[in-house]
Symmetry: C2
DNA sequence: AAACTAAACTAACAAGTGTTAGTTTGGTAT
DNA sequence: ATACCAAACTAACACTTGTTAGTTTAGTTT
């Protein structure tokens, strides 16, 4: 009986894994389409066609269109939150922290170029999870701003308007998803390094 | 007869002006809604409600939803093209040109915060004008990149990757529409100046 | 008073939307 | 062989979409 039980459990496990895989394919395909046209302009029939199946068949794997958006956005938003938490808790200089933030963005974006488009452009179409997303984003920006303010206080960073500094850095980092796919030759480390240079040291000789 | 003619012409003119005004109100309202939810997610009934009329009444003033998008995007894209043309034709240093580009973006964005959202996010929903828009954008970026390359050649600008420099500057400038409305206290000149400092001189002390 | 006109209206359309219900298919485990 | 099941299918639903046609309203010109 015990072997029978664990045998069944294994197949239940295997099945759920398989289903996750197919579900994930749908989510990945959706992310691609969302990047091109935006959430609202992509229909379930568009998505089905891209998957080579009929629209109704999608619902064997996902609960709703909204659930797909949620799956795309929330997981990445939480990755950023977790990454930022590590950075704020580290005992290094403000400039080092900023460089870590650049790395965080380059790494996450390199691995999720499509999903990053939805994170940036389709978050307002979240329904149940909208407030949660906004809270995560707000916390992230607060932490970011505090790092810059600390850097100014400790004279590491020029006495510029800290909000402008954050705005400039963050918008550049948020747009990486548009740029990374065009420059596959540049690896993540090089890009992060170059970007840190430009953002932190400026471009004036 | 002559006076009669010019009399009629005046009223035709006046009428077309009045119609333009109402049309412009619709376009401005549409731009606001497009900024919040994106072109595809805004229905003609949404727009009508925001105007306090019925959807069908909109068609007394505009030809189609697509025409509204066209009106929003193309006029601003041409403003950028024209501004860039003035800058490339001016005989000043590369750094000065870059500062003029910052000013150009700050000025246009200050006067068109809603329309800038469509320019950035809804251009892909252009139909007949899509190729024209893409050509304008491509020319703009080419000019921008050449200014940076010239600056590197003449040793005004650090020998960084010119595409990263442009990417960093341009994405910051493109995101201004999100930021300017939140900081009404900062006037356009101050913002342009601060932004130039951050983008060009960096933030490291 | 009569004619005109800008700008609203009501009613309807054809097509497209997300989604559900129930069914078929083809491979795998018993 | 048989039972099972993931994953596809067909058919349909209720609703929303952009848009058109024809009409009414209210103010202005003749």
């Amino acid at each position: 009986m015990i072997s029978n039980n664990s045998f069944n459990l294994f197949f239940i496990f295997q099945r759920s894994m398989k289903k996750e895989t197919r579900k994930q394919e749908i989510i990945n395909t959706a992310a691609k389409l969302f990047k091109e046209k935006g959430y609202s302009a992509v229909t379930m029939r568009d998505l089905a066609t891209a998957m080579g199946i009929k629209a109704a068949s999608l619902y064997n794997h996902i609960n709703s269109k909204q659930d797909i958006l949620k799956a795309i956005i929330i997981s990445i938003a939480e990755e950023f939150t977790s990454g930022m938490s590590n950075i704020t808790n580290s005992e290094v200089s403000s400039i080092s922290k900023l460089k870590s933030i650049v790395k965080l963005h380059v790494n996450i974006t390199s691995n999720n170029t499509y999903a990053m488009a939805s994170l940036n452009n389709d978050w307002m179409h979240l329904e149940d999870q909208l407030n949660y997303y906004l809270r995560l984003r707000n916390d992230y920006e607060t932490n970011f701003l505090n790092i810059i303010k600390d850097g100014i206080s400790s004279s590491e960073i020029k006495n510029s308007n800290p909000e402008i500094v954050m705005f400039s850095m963050l918008t550049t980092l948020r747009s990486l998803y548009l740029w990374i796919p065009k420059k596959e030759d540049l690896n993540a480390n090089d890009l992060a390094h170059n970007l840190s240079e430009v953002l932190i040291e400026g471009i004036n000789k």
